[in-house]
């Protein structure tokens, strides 16, 4: 009985739930992760991640500690993989040549606080290799683009979170990179600013840039793209179009441990539900295998109230699927 409950073997677990659908004559990937693993001492930050990004917007979602920032830093060339390879337009992401192809907007909120926003961007433009004249022109263009041209002369120390986010975004765009890595770019920005930023991201994608946007908020990401990569415990749990992921998740039976009293009442009702694929008993608990998890949990909640069941524990047994579910059940269309 326990065999049926084992989540998946190691090989299966390292495979994402949904792979990108094969396209005919695709352009070469801008960003390519090939079986990348990264350890922090004994802790595994990323585990055998394979990912291809082409022009357009891809959302990167996952809980804290799922590996989002590690993935972004590997792509930005601030970390090196312990196993596997990360390439940007065919160049090793760690090299300085690759940094010409990537703009990184980190979650980190540290600046040269004594500089003004304009001076900060000018310094970074000059450090990128622009001449003084070109740097000035480029910075003014970028300040207009991110809506900061009229307030860029104040010292960065006095900026609000939203203003700092805009300056961070501007610095990532200085050298007009093919790939933009944006770590929580909308956090701290007011609703009006968010709309402006979303419009800007869409425009950049329309221009053929590749954007990888990390966010906790699937709702926000859904306004930008339906292409997401869901990270769970250092693995890509799902990657592809959101509707497709949801559809497959609905068809995919989930193993759920339910511990309640009286369990025979619960079993009797569960057998009548069309979502249920199988029920097994493991000591005092029930292991329920169900399709369409959202509907299952809704019905289960009602049943618990109606039958006054005493629930001790409800637990999703497939870790990766659980994380995907947490995101998708919180989404607007689930």
């Amino acid at each position: 009985m326990r065999d049926l409950l084992e989540p998946q073997d190691a090989e299966h677990r390292s495979r994402p739930l949904v792979r990108p659908e094969p396209k005919v004559e695709q352009a070469p990937p801008v960003l390519l992760f090939e079986r990348v693993s990264k350890w922090y001492g004994p802790v595994l930050g990323l585990n055998q991640v394979t990912l291809e990004l082409r022009p357009g917007i891809t959302g990167l979602v996952g809980h804290n500690g799922a590996g989002k920032s590690t993935l972004l830093q590997l792509a930005a060339g601030h970390l090196r993989p312990d196993l596997g390879r990360v390439t940007l337009n065919g160049l090793d992401a760690w090299t300085s040549d690759a940094k010409l192809h990537v703009g990184y907007c980190p979650d980190l909120d540290q600046f040269y606080e004594d500089l003004s926003g304009r001076d900060f961007l000018l310094v970074l433009a000059r450090l990128t290799g622009f001449s003084q004249l070109d740097a000035c022109e480029r910075v003014e263009d970028l300040l207009r683009l991110v809506g900061m041209h009229d307030r860029a002369d104040r010292a960065l120390a006095g900026y609000s979170k939203g203003m700092r986010q805009r300056i961070k975004l501007a610095q990532a765009l200085i050298h007009d990179p093919a790939l933009l890595l944006l770590d929580e770019p909308l956090s701290g920005i007011d609703p009006v600013g968010r709309r402006e930023m979303v419009a800007l991201f869409l425009e950049l994608a329309r221009q053929g840039k590749c954007l990888l946007i990390s966010s906790h908020e699937l709702d926000e990401l859904e306004k930008l793209t339906d292409q997401v990569a869901i990270l769970a415990a250092g693995r890509i749990a799902a990657v592809g179009a959101l509707p497709r992921i949801r559809e497959l998740l609905d068809q995919h039976p989930h193993a759920i441990r339910v511990s309640c009293e009286p369990s025979d009442v619960l079993t009797r009702h569960l057998w009548q539900w069309e979502e249920i694929v199988g029920i097994e008993r493991d000591a005092q608990d029930l292991i329920v295998r169900a399709r369409n998890p959202k509907r299952f949990f809704e019905k289960l909640s009602l049943l618990i109230i109606e039958e006054n069941l005493e629930v001790r524990r409800i637990e999703t047994l497939d870790e990766s699927t659980s994380d995907v579910l947490n995101y998708l059940l919180g989404g607007t269309r689930a």
């Binding site: 040549d97 540290q110 310094v123 290799g129 022109e137």
Partner: protein, 305 residues
């Protein structure tokens, strides 16, 4: 029309910009300037009270100073009956002791003792550790690492921008001390300046490497400066050969060889020759700089994560 991006232009800008950033005063610089003021005051007081001679030294614990011994000799030579030969001898000894020993005393006390063993490493670490440490502690290193500049070029650029400040503090500080030292100070200034310059280069490369490899480089560098350079560097035997100040002092002794300036206890000091000292300092500079480049180019800095 936009000119193509130039890594060379970016690097030159990095050097100039980092140099200007170092001009901002920080705690260690104020400590260094305070020490400079204190040591300059000590030297000035010694000059004012004419202490740059052997007269105040003793040839053993509990024994009278050389000045007291000479006074006793002069008294003996003039009483009960003046003796012209002995008086001439006393006059000659006084001339040697009071005048010709000025450079020897100043060199051993102010230059080799205070400056070389203590102030030189301390003043160098003021700028050499802080340049990178500040970028790391403020977590602004990220902005530099994200630029399309090779990491060794970044390292060398920041080092090159920091070096003039290290030289300014050491050579400038040394010049101030020498100016306060009167005539022997002026003599010592040109005599030891090349060694001060070379010592500064070697120490700068060392402290810059520490700032790259470790998270709290100032504490580590201070510990190193106090224990390995100041304490262990003055111990008898061969252990002191691990310290850079030992080779700086050897280079200084070699420069002052013609003036009869040698280590007070040659058997304990076990000096190396001038060319060896210069070779070690130059080698240390090159190797430590190359090692720093290598560490910096491979390191994943936790501060940017």
């Amino acid at each position: 029309m936009t000119a193509p991006l130039s890594p060379c232009r970016a690097w030159c800008f990095l050097v100039g910009w980092s140099f200007r950033r170092q001009a901002r005063g920080h705690l260690l610089v104020w400590v260094a300037l305070g020490l400079l003021g204190l040591s300059a005051l000590l030297v000035a007081l010694s000059t004012r009270f004419e202490r740059w001679n052997l007269g105040f030294l003793r040839d053993g614990r509990g024994r009278p100073t050389y000045e007291e011994q000479l006074q006793m000799f002069e008294l003996a030579s003039s009483a009960p009956m003046p003796h012209a030969g002995l008086q001439a001898l006393a006059g000659a000894v006084r001339a040697q002791m009071m005048e010709a020993s000025g450079l020897w005393t100043f060199s051993n006390w102010a230059v080799l003792g205070m400056f070389c063993s203590f102030l030189l490493p301390l003043w160098t670490l003021t700028f050499a550790t802080d340049a990178l440490a500040r970028e790391r502690e403020n977590r602004t290193l990220l902005w530099l690492l994200a630029r399309p500049l090779p990491r060794p070029a970044l390292y060398l650029g920041i080092f090159l921008a920091t070096l003039p400040w290290c030289l300014l503090l050491n050579v400038g500080g040394y010049t101030v001390l020498c100016m306060m030292g009167g005539k022997p100070g002026w003599q010592a200034l040109s005599l030891y300046l090349p060694s001060v310059f070379m010592g500064t280069l070697a120490f700068s490369a060392l402290f810059f490497l520490l700032a790259t490899a470790f998270r709290r480089p100032s504490i580590l560098a201070l510990t190193y400066a106090f224990f390995l350079e100041t304490v262990a560097g003055n111990l008898p035997g061969y252990f002191k050969r691990l310290s850079l100040s030992f080779y700086t002092r050897c280079a200084m002794y070699d420069a002052a060889r013609d003036y009869g300036i040698n280590p007070p206890r040659p058997g304990m000091f076990v000096a190396v020759s001038g060319p060896v000292a210069w070779g070690v300092l130059l080698g240390a500079f090159v190797i430590l700089l190359a090692l720093g480049c290598w560490v910096f180019s491979r390191k994943e800095f936790a501060e940017v994560q």
